[in-house]
């Protein structure tokens, strides 16, 4: 699983369109299940199929109007200018103005409608993705990197949005224009058409040759850029260590190697990509020359008129643009389909199973918790909990103690149904937790997690997250109880201070205080503290603990902590090692028993106390 993930992220790192300039001339990424994905995209677009039909009608109208322009130029020259029919010319000019206005109007309207349609579709896709996130089990988030998921939610959706916005109508437009132009050219002069189209295969061959090289060198460039960016990110993130160990010169040397590689592949990639422009230009000019010379020759033979040359030249100039556009749109569409595919992949991940129809709502929770013969493994064959049984009376405070990886947090994960047990049962007030509605179960549990998460919102709103309808006074009371009030008031705007992204402006300890306040406000029947005070300095912790004692009164409470001073006051200490409960009892009982706990205790205390 994880290996696949890694190759996945690696592939994505090199994927086009990562930066703002992506999509320019990047290696093309081919979707794996193109047809299926397009079908699903169509599912979104179908909601707007009538508008879609209108857009296509408009494309026909505007393309038709634009196509008739060059023809009319020729007509004007032949029928009016050369014979000197000025009133006729004026009429024609008026007609052309009308036609062009119609064309421009049609083009504007189709773009206008398409923009709305595309954005609505993208909004719907975003919404479905977001809903998916809400419904995915915690296991998903534990096994997938956030970066990868995030890139699906932002970059990939953006890709789809861009293509919907521009490419769909443009591609249709290009098709019609190419088809129409060639038709018009054939009508005007089959001979000249054949001569003009001679350059098309040349163009195709050159483009193909160049494109292959370009793709190769761009691939190289992207690879080197990825490596270089990786190095830069790593070095600058660890800049303090680099300095302390005086590795600056070594880093610069490493950097220059990558930098030179990038430069050299960049030169080649840019040259090949840049050659396309002049090449297209020269083919255009060649065409121009062929039409001019051959047209002149034919005109002298009286096979065509001067007006036809004029029309023809404009048409042949027009042909290059949609051809180029189609080629570049093809790449963009491909990478968008690949992006859409990744979005759908995410939507298809297994969701948290729905609540059972017979699932109950808990009200008035007493807080009796019972684990019976619980077995659990995150990955098959690596059992984390083995045959764990535990009876907790209402109102009891249980401390879970044991070395890292013993399975303490796993018990919490199971209680909250972040993960489901594989055998055995867990009951609350006699109800199997799998028969309780998930939201009802989690309402009954108040959890302060090991890594405190805060939103980039005001302090007040962050605390209020515990109970959305709490009043300002209640929020502040909860903060006081958690000993957070003092430091909050010292913040620049007190409770209304908006926290920066990832709340980097607060210390780990302060963040823990806020999340304790949040749990206090939630006022749950069962309280779970997972290393809730590990980063609070010990003197503050003593204060919080006093508040906690108040809070824990009458509630069932689970406490996980490394500091033995935090857990000594629990009604019962449960010692876990290697996924099994090895000891149970009060602090004093366990010390007297002289087992695992007393050993732990000694390593921390006895040395100090003696």
């Amino acid at each position: 699983m994880s290996a696949q993930n890694r190759s996945d992220t690696e592939r994505r790192r090199r994927r086009p369109g990562g930066g703002p300039h992506g999509g320019l001339m990047m290696p093309i990424e081919k979707p794996k299940r193109g047809r299926q994905t397009v079908g699903r995209l169509w599912g979104y677009l179908r909601r707007e199929k009538w508008l879609m039909a209108v857009v296509f009608m408009l494309v026909l109208v505007s393309a038709g109007a634009m196509l008739s322009g060059p023809y009319l130029i020729g007509v004007g020259i032949d029928r009016f200018i050369i014979p000197g029919d000025m009133p006729g010319l004026l009429m024609l000019a008026m007609a052309m103005i009308g036609l062009y206005l119609l064309g421009a109007g049609g083009m504007w309207l189709q773009n206008h409608i398409m923009v709305g349609m595309a954005q609505r579709t993208v909004r719907d896709i975003r919404k479905d993705l977001f809903d998916t996130i809400q419904d995915l089990p915690v296991r998903f988030f534990d096994t997938h990197t956030h970066g990868d998921t995030m890139s699906r939610l932002s970059n990939d959706v953006e890709h789809v949005a861009n293509v919907l916005n521009n490419s769909v109508t443009q591609a249709f437009n290009s098709f019609i224009t190419i088809f129409g132009t060639i038709t018009m050219m054939l009508i005007l002069s089959p001979v000249l058409t054949v001569m003009t189209l001679v350059t098309v295969p040349i163009m195709a061959v050159i483009t193909k040759l160049v494109a292959v090289r370009t793709r190769h060198y761009f691939g190289e460039q992207q690879k080197h850029l990825g490596e270089l960016n990786g190095l830069v990110e790593e070095t600058i993130s660890g800049q303090r260590v680099v300095k302390v160990f005086q590795q600056e010169d070594a880093m610069i040397e490493k950097f220059s190697e990558h930098n030179d590689d990038l430069r050299d592949s960049g030169v080649k990639a840019q040259i090949f990509a840049g050659v396309v422009g002049p090449t297209m230009n020269v083919i255009n000019n060649l065409n121009f020359a062929i039409v001019a010379a051959a047209g002149g020759y034919l005109a002298i033979q009286d096979l065509i008129t001067v007006g036809i040359i004029a029309s023809f030249i404009t048409y042949s100039r027009q042909l290059a643009r949609p051809l180029n556009q189609l080629a570049s749109q093809f790449n963009m569409v491909q990478s968008a389909v690949a992006g859409a595919e990744r979005c759908f992949e995410l939507m298809d991940e297994e969701k948290e199973p729905k609540d059972d129809d017979q699932a109950v709502e808990l009200d008035d929770v007493q807080g009796e918790v019972r684990l019976v013969n619980v077995d659990f493994a995150y990955e098959p064959d690596v059992p984390v909990l083995k045959n764990v049984s535990l009876d907790v009376e209402p109102g009891e405070t249980i401390a879970l103690v044991g070395p890292t990886g013993a399975g303490k947090t796993t018990i919490i994960n199971l209680l909250t149904r972040f993960y489901d047990i594989q055998s055995g049962s867990i009951t609350i007030d006699g109800w199997d937790i799998r028969s309780i509605r998930r939201h009802s179960l989690r309402h009954a549990l108040g959890i302060v997690l090991q890594d405190t998460y805060l939103f980039s919102d005001s302090v007040r709103e962050n605390i209020r997250y515990g109970r959305l309808d709490a009043s300002d006074e209640e929020v502040e009371r909860a903060a006081e109880m958690a000993f957070a009030d003092t430091f909050i008031r010292r913040l620049p705007h007190g409770y209304d201070t908006v926290l920066a992204d990832d709340a980097g402006d607060l210390s780990q300890g302060q963040r823990q205080l806020l999340s304790i306040a949040r749990a206090i406000l939630a006022d749950p029947a069962i309280l779970i503290l997972d290393e809730a005070t590990s980063s609070v300095d010990t003197r503050t912790e003593v204060h919080i603990q006093r508040a906690m004692v108040e809070l824990m009164k009458g509630r069932t409470c689970f406490v996980i902590a490394h500091r033995l001073s935090t857990i000594r006051d629990a009604d019962r200490i449960v010692v876990i090692n290697h996924g099994e409960i090895v000891e149970e009892g009060s602090h004093r009982e366990l010390l007297e028993a002289g087992g695992f706990y007393s050993e732990l205790y000694q390593s921390q205390f006895e040395r100090a106390a003696s």
Binding site: H112, A289, A293, G296
Partner: protein
């Protein structure tokens, strides 16, 4: 922005060559319609077939010449821009390497990374485009106008209408569009932010059953984004039809007024055709100019961010009298040291710090969060300079030792165990690049890391991913301790570097430290009293001052603040 362009100077040949070659291409493009006109007006009119064929051949020749110019320009522009980019990137990277800690504090890490990577790419693209398009577009439109006027000054009056109209429309669109797209970007950031928060905070959201709340919150920003995107998109939807309309109306105008002139005999039919072609060239180039303005304004912001880094003054240098002689014994003295962070307001972080650590002694440093522990040790490496007071090593003011020699003499294990991609062996060797395998293993062994390293299939040659994701927090800390130990410096600092290591392992590490020869003067910052109680001296910091110092026994007997900490960790009955 202009200052950054000095990096183009070494590549002046290519920079000069690119526009010159581009001129060739532009001339070729501009010459074609005139040749066409002469085919129609001279060749066809006089029924002179050889003339037509000759002119056709000239046109092909001109086209090929133009291509040579275009390709040459591309080559030169590519060379210039990529070399420019590479030089700029290297200059930035070297600059960052020379930064002091205070300099680093000025910038967010992510922002520095963006500057070295994305911003350079932006500017580099601008140079590439600039050397091609910025020459081509103005030349083509200017040349087109000149050629058109040469054919028929009167008919050129049409440009007097269509060019200003086009310019005004483009200017309005670009201006309004720029604002709208900035807003779209803001809304997009908002949407992405909610997404990110939901990814990182998913446990919390599930635990507090806030999915519906989050859905509502997301739907608001999602709708906002849609509305703004639609607004911006619809504005841009105007652009293409309007431009096409202006172009086409001008063509109609040329056709009509040209026709009138042909009727009067002041103009020829072929010239009308040439005129129409020049028109297309001119208006097309003007569009390109508008596009370039957008690019320039984007690159401008990048350029400024880059320049800011390059212009940052490195605030820590070797003093002129500094000697390149490392510390040998490791006696450390602080004399009335005061310190406050450059950016921070008011409150000094350290006040009046004085103490002496004899060679080989172990000094424990305790104190609450924010009491100044990490700051104190960072002064020893001259990561920052004190505001007043002196720090002496072996009796020498550390400002009289070169930074290089000083940092060779002091080894620090930082709180954050940052490892780099590469093998474990390479990571440990950072401390001393010339170390032998035995020394690596010995250092790892003392850091209690040898055991788990050996358990990996590739042992010391196991490759760590970026940020060492494949090691646990405690394992990373132990590797980083080994990296600090192998340096064998006379002064060793452990800055809360065993926080993720369990108690038993921690005491074994300390045991190993005491056995290491020669004995380094060791500073240990810790949260747990047990980590420092065996120290020769314990400094208790409180709000930037040394509140108490002495051995564990003495402090326990005399210092109330120490007793407080002790009690909070050991419980009431322990005292």
């Amino acid at each position: 922005m202009l200052k950054i362009m000095r990096f183009l100077r070494p590549h002046w040949k290519a920079v000069l060559l690119a526009p010159l070659l581009m001129i060739a291409e532009v001339i070729a493009d501009l010459y074609q319609p005139t040749l066409l006109a002469s085919i129609v007006d001279v060749g066809v009119a006089a029924e002179d077939i050889p003339y037509i064929l000759r002119t056709g051949a000239v046109m092909i020749g001109v086209a090929l010449l133009g291509m040579a110019g275009g390709v040459g320009c591309t080559v030169a522009a590519s060379m210039a821009s990529q070399h420019f980019g590479a030089d700029l990137r290297a200059a930035l990277f070297e600059k960052v390497q020379s930064f002091s800690f205070a300099n680093l504090d000025q910038y967010k890490t992510s922002s520095l990374i963006t500057r070295v990577t994305n911003d350079v790419t932006q500017v580099q693209n601008l140079v590439l485009m600039g050397l091609r398009m910025m020459v081509r577009a103005p030349l083509l439109s200017l040349g087109g106008i000149v050629m058109a006027i040469r054919i028929n000054p009167q008919l050129s009056m049409i440009f007097l209408v269509s060019i200003p109209v086009l310019a005004v429309i483009m200017a309005l669109l670009v201006k309004r569009g720029f604002r709208l797209f900035t807003l779209v970007q803001e809304k997009l950031d908002r949407v992405n932010n909610v997404m990110r928060e939901n990814l990182s905070g998913i446990r919390l959201i599930k635990a507090f059953v806030r999915s519906d709340h989050e859905r509502k919150r997301f739907s608001v920003s999602n709708d906002d984004l849609m509305d703004m995107s639609v607004q911006a998109g619809r504005l841009m939807a105007l652009a293409m039809p309007l431009i096409m309309l202006i172009m086409n109306l001008s063509i109609v105008g040329i056709l009509y007024f040209g026709g009138v002139q042909v009727d009067r005999g002041t103009m020829m039919v072929g010239e009308i055709m040439a005129f129409v072609n020049y028109m297309i060239h001119i208006l097309g180039s003007l569009m390109m100019v508008a596009f370039m303005f957008i690019m320039i304004s984007r690159a401008q912001a990048s350029g400024e961010r880059i320049q800011e880094v390059l212009a940052t003054e490195v605030d820590l240098h070797d003093e002129p009298e500094a000697e390149d002689i490392p510390v040998e014994e490791g006696r450390v003295e602080f004399e009335n040291v005061h310190f406050s962070y450059p950016q921070a307001s008011g409150e000094p972080v350290l006040q009046d710090i004085s103490f002496t650590a004899e060679p080989g002694e172990m000094v424990g440093i305790l104190g609450g969060t924010g009491s100044g522990k990490s700051t104190l040790v960072s002064l020893m490496l001259r990561l920052y300079d004190p505001d007043s007071g002196r720090i002496l090593m072996d009796g020498r003011d550390i400002r009289h030792i070169t930074l290089d020699a000083l940092r060779r003499s002091v080894s620090i294990v930082l709180q954050d165990a940052v490892l780099f991609s590469g093998t474990i062996d390479e990571n440990i060797r950072w401390g001393r690049p010339d170390a032998g395998t035995e020394q690596v293993v010995e250092a790892a062994d003392h850091a209690q890391a040898d055991h788990f390293i050996q358990s990996f299939p590739h042992g010391y040659d196991s490759v760590l991913g970026q940020r060492a994701v494949n090691l646990s927090g405690g394992q990373k800390q132990r590797v980083s301790i080994a990296r600090g130990l192998i340096k064998d410096a006379p002064v060793l600092i452990l800055d809360d570097s065993t926080s993720a290591v369990d108690l038993g392992t921690e005491s074994r590490i300390q045991e190993a430290l005491r056995r290491r020869e020669p004995q380094a003067t060791t500073f240990v910052i810790a949260q747990r009293i047990t980590s420092v109680m065996d120290a020769d001296t314990i400094l208790v910091l409180d709000e930037g001052r040394i509140a108490a110092s002495g051995t564990h026994d003495r402090l326990l007997a005399e210092s109330s603040i120490y007793q407080d900490i002790y009690r909070s960790q050991m419980g009431e009955e322990a005292v």
